[in-house]
Amino acid sequence: MTPTSIPTATVPGARTPADAVVSVQNLHVEFKTPLGKVNALNGVNFDVPRGRVLGIVGESGCGKSVTARAILQIVEKAGTISKGRILFRSQPDAVDLTSLDPQGREMRSIRGKEISMIFQEPMTSLNPVYTIGDQIEEAVRLHQTRDKDEARRRAVEVLRRVGMPNPEQVARTYPHQLSGGMRQRAMIAMALSCTPTLLIADEPTTALDVTTEAQILQLMRDLQAESGMSIMFITHSMGVVAQLCDDVVVMYLGRVVERAPVDDLFYNPKHPYTISLLRSIPRIGVGRGQPLESMKGGVPDPYSTVPGCPFHPRCPSAMKGVCDTVVPIEAPVEGGVDGHGVRCHLYPGCTPLDVAVDTVSEREEEE
């Protein structure tokens, strides 16, 4: 990675863990709407490990896209980062992205160059009046070279890298002339054109067919292995997570509820939400003719606030007097592998100490 020419404000005392590209710490994002305040993120913590693929899973409204947008400082207008830090790069030049002006030079030199993003809908995120080549060149000329011919050459090169047949010709086409899978390849090419350290992919395969999805996943896996970049892959599909990611963060209502290396998440899931998610997807060869295990209710509407653990109204194992009053904290899983953490009162260490004593004494009194 080439160091930026623009000096960025380093954060004294801030530590990005040595093996992390981005460290999101206690991130809060709120949206002010005419109907009231919506807390989209309520203290999100995670690190994107260097050279690995981190999956962020959750249902709609869990805050996974907001997290991605917060990292790039492109949260929609009504939203603000109200608390927390997002540390980028390791020491000594770690920088807190939340402290940068979203429109300022520093942020613009990071966005698209060191951190780039692929969006869900390739049709709406590509500009219909410019050719694919022009759009890739734009990023290259902004961040890497002023030479037009050189930029064009690099655009064609990166299109070839993402497996585009006939890249010279594709560079001259407009987005509507390409199929969905090809457009997504063009998006990936654009994101990779400046060799980013971190690629954020926000549901890049959701709008695609399974066959095209498989191609894109394979491509991302190959590109990641080749370039060693980190990928933060946002999805709601457990299948995609299992196939692509190294580590997984499960989010529910603006909080991380479980994190684990991918194998442990699938073979030793701890949080009732993770377990329910895994059990509610139809699995080939399992339980045909039997009802699927389903979670009761739906994701609560964002304007309401749920006391205690946000999942307790839907949780099959919710404990009265604890889960509905106290917000659990995250703790490492006992006997679990390194990096497996859970946020659920069922597990030791997740009930804050002071509250745990209170509820227990209350309970004893009741008995």
Binding site: V210, T211, A214, R279, I284, G285, G287, P316, L346, A356
Partner: protein, 373 residues
């Protein structure tokens, strides 16, 4: 003995492509181009394929929401006997339509935002004059209860409901006239995973309760495997393979089915395989390739496949495939996955309860929960 409810033979739906100042017809998009299948009473018939293969158009043409260009759709009506829906007159259609309903994919655009839920569900009954006044209100309340909503929801508007609840409203509307056949056009693909399971379970229990037959159109093979009894795979407007769910998933006979199955992302990190990747995209249905439509993407293709169109033929046991090589190929089916390994929730609850009587000493203090590396 299978008891056919719907027999589709040679169904075609072509859309004209118009161009130029005079809007002259310059070509035809053959969205559905000779589709054959039979749906038996009481079964769930899955229709799968990539986008643009004509599965939704087939579903809509079967109900004559689209006028078929050719072919027959014969519906076996209890009183009228077999009727060709494609050529039925107004009188016949009026009697057929209540028996055949549809659930749409997008629960947001398929409900009129300016009608209350009660009016939406009542509309088919008002049009067909089956219920009036108090009876109508009771029936709406009953339908709401059947799909897991509450009778008082009738006075609300669709915007007050979540995606899953809206899909339930769509289901209630489809059930209003006691249909026999329901075309489910991607009914769960717009829903969250946890809600998807609820709606699938609801569809299954309604089927048992009301003796329904489903034509289940979906691009999600895992969902189809779960819910369907028999499945047809479509590619570029044609059915390329039909069979029972077991036949199709575990011993496919058509290379396209094999490729679809291998592309499915398996929810198991220990089963990471390089899928049999299909190269390229689905060709345009306005200008399909010669011979077998699938041959440009097929890794087994031979000379014959480039010139000769394969017909759907019986391979025994009710499995049909349109492939010249169906007898000689050894294709790989889906691999069954292990069930979700889960520690018993009760065990964790018990452990938590015993632990709570003595809080552990090593509890992390507030605010340090994150950033574990």
């Amino acid at each position: 003995m299978p008891d056919p409810l719907l027999e589709v033979t040679g169904l075609k739906k072509h859309f004209p492509v118009k161009n130029g100042l005079l809007r002259r017809v310059v070509g035809q998009v053959k969205a559905v181009d000779g589709v054959d299948f039979t749906i038996n009473r009481g079964e769930t018939f899955g229709l799968v394929g990539e986008s643009g293969c004509g599965k939704s158009t087939t579903g809509r043409t079967v109900l004559r929401l689209e006028e078929p260009t050719g072919g027959e759709v014969v519906y076996h009506h209890e009183e009228l006997g077999p009727v060709n829906i494609g050529t039925a007159d107004r009188q016949q259609l009026k009697r057929l339509r209540p028996e055949m309903q549809i659930i749409f994919q997008d629960p947001f655009s398929s409900l009129d935002a300016r009608m209350t839920v009660g009016r939406i569900i009542a509309e088919p009954m008002v049009i067909n004059r089956t219920h009036h006044g108090r009876e109508l209100r009771d029936r709406v309340a009953e339908l709401l209860t059947v799909v897991g909503l509450r009778p008082e929801h009738a006075s609300r508007y669709p915007h007050a409901f979540s995606g899953g609840q809206r899909q339930r409203i769509g289901i209630a509307r489809a059930l209003a006239l006691n249909p026999k056949l329901i075309v489910c056009d991607e009914p769960v693909s717009a829903l969250d995973v946890s809600v998807q399971a609820q709606v699938l379970n609801l569809l299954e229990s309604l089927q048992a309760q009301f003796d329904l037959t489903y034509l289940f159109v979906s691009h999600d093979l895992s969902v189809v495997e779960h819910i369907a009894d028999r499945v047809a795979v479509m590619y570029l407007g044609k059915v390329v393979e039909v069979g029972t769910t077991d036949q199709l998933f575990y011993s496919p006979k058509m290379p396209y089915t094999e490729a679809l199955l291998s592309a499915l992302p398996k929810p198991d990190p220990r089963k990471r395989t390089r899928p049999t990747l299909l190269t390229g995209d689905v060709p345009s249905p306005a200008n399909p390739p010669h011979g077998c439509h699938f041959h440009p993407r097929c890794k087994y293709a031979q000379d014959r496949c480039r010139t000769e169109v394969p017909q759907l033929r019986d391979l025994g046991g009710g499995q049909l495939a349109a492939c010249h090589l169906a007898d000689s190929l050894e294709l790989k089916g889906a691999e069954p996955l292990p069930d979700v390994p889960v520690i018993s929730a009760e065990e964790a609850v018990r452990a938590a309860a015993s632990r709570n009587s003595r809080p552990p000493a090593d509890v992390a203090p507030h605010g340090t929960q994150g950033a574990m590396s």
